[in-house]
Amino acid sequence: MTPPQEPQSADEARQAAARFREQYETIRAEVGRMMVGQQAVIEGVLTALLAGGHVLLEGVPGLGKTMLVSSLGKAVDLSFSRIQFTPDLMPADVRGSSVLVDDGKGGHSLQFEEGPIVANLVLADEINRATPKTQSAMLEAMQERQVSVGKRTIRLEEPFCVMATQNPVEQEGTYPLPEAQLDRFLFKLVVGYPAEADYKEILARTTGGQDVELRSVSSAQDILAMRQTARSVPVPEHVQDYAVRLVMGTQPGSAYAPKLVNDSVSLGSSPRGAQALILAGKVKALLAGRFSVAQEDIDAVAKPVLRHRILLNFQAQSDGLSTDAIVDAVLQHNQATVGASA
């Protein structure tokens, strides 16, 4: 498959941006046929997919997290696999292993069977229920886009996207994701309860006689082309500075950290946070009809990008402070700094 070319003229860029928005809206509408409401979550998942990142979905049971990801897999026509993480799941169950097969000549031979991780769209359901050993089997796949089993290394086919879900309640018997793995997720999206109007639609769709059948409206090539388009969006210098200051603002003791961060945060975002801000900001800029990233694009993705990269200290946890409040404080501080200079 030949990679899509970067637009060389303004007209090509406009056409690419228009196609991008059109494709995006088509996928969103198709997923929206199955998923009622939760527009912000659908947009977040699609943004992460188009930015080339992974998504961690957090919400109480019954909100349609798993259905959202499976619907996306169907709408985009990507190879989809689902892994239900349980405490007895082993790394080999994720990556694959060699199994003894009958060679048809009366003998047996070892044959490597790929695990469910080898797919375009991987749903890691209730990822925090597996042991850290199994969770770490995802690390290489998420960052390096490859899986190593013994001496065998399998390159994962692009687009590759891990969409993990976890339940914020029922923490007994779970293994919280380590910081290294949390950092590999581009977004952490919080799935909330649907609105009152959405309930009726949900009931009508799920308790009626007709089941919704999703059709594939896009392909892996389309997704790759959209990713390439998004990566072509230029980032002005002042926006880069803004994103860097935003990330540094989450690090206690830095020059851009507000007092709340210094008091409440023990660990701030890594440079991966800045990368994620820019990548997601590019997608947001295209969706907003612009050809370069603006500060408001960075602001729009700041919370899903940074909320899981901030580690609160004990004082903040005991005070019931959330990482969203920290991100709000950093945004306010950063905007005030920019406003003072302009």
Partner: protein, 496 residues
């Protein structure tokens, strides 16, 4: 299509123009903020001057230490100085064209289109999206150039506070001026009259004579203006020196105030009395002892029936509580005999006293029935002396004659048992039945100590001298060689 350089200059011009506007607004805002903050000094300076004036006035010095016009001038100038300093700081902050473009973007809701286009032009970013972004910015540029930007109006942040400072400063200024003016009109030295009156030699004899004459009417007249002035009243109320023109009545009344002295003398004598009064406890108890001892011995022989309860009570009083009532009955030489009871003693008074009383009664009855003191009772040894001092046991000091020199032994009864906790048997030797035993010692179970395990470590090779080393015992010849070597090194340090 406009050339990139022309477009760049248009963006820059717009940025500079807006930046200059921003600078002007910032300067005006800094000036107003500086003034509003400087108004604090407008009130503070007169307050300080007024305080100093009052302090100097009460100290007897001239209150007008600084001219009032100068105070007013400084109070008016200080806010201006503060405002000028803040404005200078604002002027030092440079506003680049990009800041101006960002302000335009923000005001017109262009989402950084102008700033991004200017940045991409300046950095000469290649690519279709960069070109599209520049064209996008160019399309908005004409709109931005013609737009009239709305700047935040320069305003006082807290006008109420500023007005308050102005009012307070004006009031204080007026007060300070009034104080200076009043001192100027009244001679400025309120204490000088008293001082001159006290030092009569320095005055003109005629003037001093007229002042010393008892002439209350003119004095009253002279003081009337002062009495109208509150400051003058305060100045008059302050001195307490008796003036020479006091009347006899006034002198009498001052003599009566001597009651305060006599009262003081009474109070001191009372204090001395209380100091000399003996601490009744120790001595009175000593004095009571012999008198209480003799009647008890006399009372024991007749043994009237009606006096038994009293006798029992006396016995109980004599017997030390820690020594056990059975063993120390009737022996008040026992050093532990005391009505004082230790807090540490583990006693159950209810049942213990009943048992002891019953035993004592039975004992006496037995003795009476047998016709006197029984042998086993004669075996009773005196209680063990538990004095902690080196002395004479229970005997009195033979050297004590009551005329100075060594005195009687000091009382230290019960100290050992109270402090150390001594188990005291509460039974008579040879008597059947073990009897209750009082243990006043707290039992502490021994506990095994767990020392920290000693970590075995490999000792590294020593790299330097450890501790003082004894000088090498060199032979004289070798010592000469070593000395010569170091001397040669010192003379030619660079020579290998």
């Amino acid at each position: 299509m406009e050339r990139p350089s022309d477009l760049q200059s248009r963006f820059d011009q717009l940025g500079q123009r807006v930046g200059a506007d921003m600078q002007r607004v910032a300067l005006r805002q800094s000036w107003v903020e500086g003034l509003s903050r400087g108004l604090l000094w407008f009130a503070l300076l007169p307050a300080v001057v007024l305080i100093v004036q009052l302090v100097r006035y009460w100290a007897g010095a001239s209150a007008a230490f600084v001219p009032t016009p100068l105070v007013v001038l400084m109070a008016l100038l200080l806010p201006v100085v503060v405002a000028a300093w803040r404005t200078r700081r604002a002027r030092a902050r440079t506003i680049v064209p990009r800041d101006g473009l960002q302000a335009v973007d923000r005001q017109l809701g262009l989402a950084d289109r102008l700033t991004s286009a200017q940045d991409l032009l300046e950095r000469r970013v290649e690519g279709g999206f960069a070109a599209a972004a520049i064209e996008d910015g160019q399309a908005k540029l004409a709109e931005a150039e013609s737009a009239r930007l709305q700047w935040q109006p320069v305003a006082w942040r807290q006008p109420g506070r500023g007005v308050g400072w102005i009012l307070a400063g004006t009031t204080l200024l007026l007060l300070a001026a009034q104080v200076a003016l009043w001192q100027h009109t009244t001679g400025g030295e309120p204490d000088r009259i008293e001082w001159q009156g006290a030092v009569g030699e320095a005055l003109d004899p005629k003037e001093s004579d007229t002042r010393l004459l008892p002439d209350p009417a003119p004095e009253n007249e002279a003081r009337q203006p002062d009495a109208q002035n509150p400051m003058g009243r305060g100045a008059e109320a302050k001195p307490s020196k008796p003036s020479p023109d006091l009347s006899d009545d006034v002198k009498d009344s001052s003599g009566k105030s001597g009651q305060g002295q006599s009262a003081g003398a009474q109070s001191t004598s009372a204090a001395s009395q209380s100091r000399s009064s003996p601490s009744s406890q120790g001595q009175s108890s000593q004095a009571d002892k012999p008198s209480a001892k003799k009647p008890k011995k006399q009372d024991r022989k007749p043994k009237p029936e009606g006096q038994e309860p009293e006798k029992k009570q006396e016995e109980e009083e004599d017997a030390g509580s820690t020594a056990g009532r059975g063993s120390s009955k009737g022996s008040n030489k026992n050093p532990t005999t005391s009505s004082w009871k230790s807090k540490d003693q583990v006693t159950n008074e209810d049942d213990q006293e009943v048992e002891d009383d019953e035993q004592a009664e039975e004992d006496e009855e037995e003795q009476e029935n047998r016709g006197g003191v029984q042998p086993h009772m004669r075996d009773r040894r005196p209680p063990v002396s538990r004095d902690l001092q080196i002395g004479f046991g229970n005997r009195s000091n033979p050297d004590a004659n009551g005329r100075g020199g060594p005195g009687q032994q000091k009382k230290s009864r019960g100290v050992a048992s109270l402090v150390l906790g001594v188990p005291i048997p509460d039974r008579v030797k040879g008597k059947p039945g073990p009897g209750p035993t009082k243990v006043t010692q707290e039992r502490v179970e021994p506990q095994a100590e767990s020392p920290e395990p000693i970590q075995a470590q490999t000792r590294p090779k020593r790299s330097s001298a450890l501790g003082p080393l004894a000088p090498l015992d060199l032979s004289p010849a070798m010592r000469q060689v070593v000395t010569a070597y170091f001397l040669s090194r010192r003379q030619a340090p660079n020579k290998p």
